[in-house]
Subunit: 396 residues, 2 copies
């Protein structure tokens, strides 16, 4: 039969990335397309040990219903750590979510609807964009520069668009560009939020994965009047499969998000929350972070070095200071490079269009991820992309 979906649901397309992801894991394909932690990044033995302990000592608590707010000891631990970083003030509370993705869903559903506008970076994380579109709000991308959003274009949008309720940013090692927003721009964003009266969603899944020094202060740390909703995640520092993230925001926001979360999933898998809590408190978490930072710094250096050899100078790319991604720009005439890379060279990258609110014409960018492929795959993959570049150069 013909189903009549709501206009918002009708317009929603499955994430192109997740569809490409399915292809990327076909045998023989080199996966620069994923956003997965490296296989060697998982503290698998620690998780096995922790889980065995939990199921031996408190099996019923780990399997029974729990409260929507989240596992109390985990919330307390995260709040202590947040306060130590000035990431939470006295009115702020924590809600544990099913990954940071759920923060985008809850915050946008609570605060924006038809007739409202949500601004985001262009390009941006497609999972967030889709959550925003589903609210019925108009979603508008604002172009990026090397140090974050183009502030002139942002102010243009703020003057032009109606009922701007939210600005969504990933200030650290952004997905997909790898760009870090400068401290100056972070302060400017918060100033603009006060001036134009909107809230900021600060999505920070990669902040701990810096290669050299820590990134500038979180926008949330500037927040004195409850305008910033901070989303954290265990996905990149422990495990994405466990689906544990968290939200730090004013208690009135957290109360509303909690009521909304009840309608989505009642509460986050409690065993996973207990695992995250033990991992934070009973294991050398800082050592694990240091290990991850070194691992990804090494893989990024390898990948960007090979890109320099094989892709430059025609294909340019960002040099991220952390995280999992770099963003590549193609010269004119190479528009179908990503598609041909997959078909002819068995190398999967994500075409830039997957990260646009509105299509860019022409689309000449693509995202590469350096955490998922092995070192050998990185070397071989960049070689093959270089071959394709040369073939395409000759064909012009």
């Amino acid at each position: 039969m013909d189903y009549r979906f709501t206009p918002e649901a009708e317009a929603l397309k499955p994430s192109a990335i997740r569809e490409i992801l399915k292809l990327s894991f076909a045998p023989g394909v080199i996966p620069f397309s994923a956003g997965n932690p490296a296989p060697e990044a998982f503290p698998a033995e620690a998780v096995a040990g922790i889980t065995a302990q939990i199921l031996e000592k408190t099996p019923i608590a780990a399997l029974q219903y729990s409260v929507t707010e989240g596992f109390e000891p985990l919330r307390e631990e995260l709040l202590v750590r947040a306060k130590a970083k000035a990431l939470a003030n006295e009115r702020d509370r924590i809600l544990i979510t099913a990954g940071a993705q759920q923060v985008m869903s809850l915050a946008s559903a609570a605060l924006a609807g038809r007739g409202d506008t949500i601004l985001c970076e262009n390009p941006s994380f497609v999972g967030a964009i889709n959550a925003f579109k589903l609210t019925g709000a108009r979603v508008v991308g604002v172009d990026m520069e090397e140090d974050g959003l183009n502030l002139n274009k942002l102010e243009d949008a703020l003057r032009r668009e109606e009922n701007v309720k939210l600005l969504y940013v990933i200030p650290n090692f952004q997905n997909p560009t790898g760009i870090t927003t400068s401290e100056e721009k972070r302060r400017a964003l918060y100033r603009l939020a006060r001036q134009y009266d909107f809230l900021i969603i600060e999505d920070d899944p990669y902040g701990e994965l810096y290669f050299q020094g820590a990134p500038p202060c979180p926008i949330k740390s500037l927040d004195t009047d409850g305008r910033v909703i901070y989303a954290g995640s265990f996905s990149k520092v422990l495990s994405p499969g466990l689906r544990v993230g968290w939200c730090i925001a004013d208690e009135a926001l957290i109360a509303k998000f909690t009521a909304l979360k009840q309608t989505q999933d009642v509460h986050t898998n409690i065993m996973a929350q207990m695992i995250a809590h033990r991992f934070l408190t009973a294991y050398p978490f800082e050592e694990h972070l240091t290990f991850l930072r070194k691992l990804y710094a090494r893989k990024a250096a390898l990948c960007l070095g090979e890109a320099e050899r094989h892709l430059a100078p025609e294909i340019t790319f960002t040099r991220p200071a952390g995280g999992l991604f770099a963003w590549c720009a193609l010269p004119e005439g190479y528009d179908d490079f990503p598609l041909r890379a997959l078909r002819e060279k068995q190398v999967a990258v994500v075409p830039g269009g997957a990260f646009r609110v509105q299509p860019a014409e022409p689309e000449r960018c693509f995202r590469i991820n350096f955490s998922t492929p092995t070192d050998e795959q990185i070397v071989r993959g960049m070689e093959r992309l270089g071959e394709l570049k040369r073939v395409m150069a000759r064909g012009r």
Copy 2:
């Protein structure tokens, strides 16, 4: 600051049950108010064994990102089982969700919005009602009889209400009433769905927990044109804390729900899905179900026997043929019985108002759960409720 929530989010109140639940677990309070599986119902050792195996043999798969649709072997196993019960036809697919709650959220968000109507049983499960209200649709409760919805009132509502898109029912051992919808009425509901062109959400978390014979055929088994969305759950047969449920529906619906689920949580905790899969396939699942049926049948018989001794005849109650709940009706003049039970007798039951779409005036019902309290608590709790009843009778 003053936050401006969307009208739907503004209207959403935290679930009264979950708030009462928090009180119920205060020391000394007898919890007839929960909906939790009995502590002895958890196959804790099996889960510990399964989990250790998974984390030993396939740790990365259990911790890495996975696909939104769900763990493929689990989906296949559930589909085979569904087909064996005529619960799925050739066009039907399965989506794994974060508990059955997420099915309500996804299905209603995809199919209903402002200007639409969702019908449900009155009283009904508050988590579903809240998910429905959040879509902006008008939610209308239709009164129940001993064998399910009052069909005359349902037809009245279908003629009266505009754009009825969905009917939500819990045909087996309904929450909160314990009522089982008769086979005749199941067929009538499906006929009406075709006649008035709406879809049915069949929520079936308790169907396996029958005390004597299996309940009548699921409405989904009558479905020839893709009108029935079936929600299943591991919450009552394995563990609610793991948050694993599933949806069986036409492939076009499943595709849309999958796209929506991406925006809520990307995918369901993959380790929990693997645990559920192993529990279904490598353990004697049927024996576990037999054990649970006996356990709950015994607890129900104990509870209703004590209710007969202490609450009858003034307070009447349903006699469920399965599940976790019975529904009690108070005579005139006892309206504050649930509140006084908690305050004066330390016995927590859930006032009927928690299950209403619109308040019933006067509200003279309450729900009792017989799975959470121990046998001793059931005996003591009913005694105390009987004392309160006698005190209130004297006071009239």
